[in-house]
Symmetry: C2
């Protein structure tokens, strides 16, 4: 669901992916990565969806580029990234973007 992020500026990592339909250990690793990322310095939250064809969008939010780079180099995350290429993902795109402004709406 919705990530509660602070006032901009901060960073978004937009991860679009097409996953194999077989699990191949993915769900277990995904749960581990969620637990791990939530304790990363600078991690602000995430929003994530995947459809039945395996296409997914995960947007994670970060305080700054440094915290994104540290997470990318985390040893357990590196192992997950490697398996992602070997086993789980047919294709992915990662876009790193600086959130400049945000607005919203909520029905009363």
């Amino acid at each position: 669901m919705f990530a509660n992020t602070p006032k901009p500026p901060y960073y978004a990592v937009i991860f679009s992916s097409l996953k194999e339909l077989d699990d191949l250990g993915y769900d277990k690793m995904a749960k581990k990565m969620v637990e791990l990322v939530e304790n990363q310095d600078g991690f602000l939250g995430y929003e994530s969806l995947r459809d039945k064809n395996g296409f997914g969008i995960t947007v994670s939010y970060w305080r700054d580029e440094e915290s994104i780079n540290k997470w990318k180099k985390n040893l357990e995350h590196l192992e997950a990234q490697q398996k992602g290429k070997e086993l789980w993902y047919k294709k992915y795109k990662i876009r790193i973007a600086k959130v400049e402004r945000k607005y919203g709406f909520e029905r009363e």
Copy 2:
């Protein structure tokens, strides 16, 4: 599915929303908006998903802030935005972000 975007920099509009489960004319309008947006100057593509609970993520990509602002002020789109608040969305967040870098992977 995947948007084919040019080399950064460009802009992303990250639209996270919780929709009512009833249609209330939404699908028809959504189709109209897709047709319309694809002809907007500066529109680069979009990636979109929604789950069965009504939570959705749509990321649209734009050449620059000016093209985002013009789309926001498009008359037919303004009508859709108004109906969005009145009928379709319980809540949404819109984050405007400058894509600074992009990389990806595709299995051979």
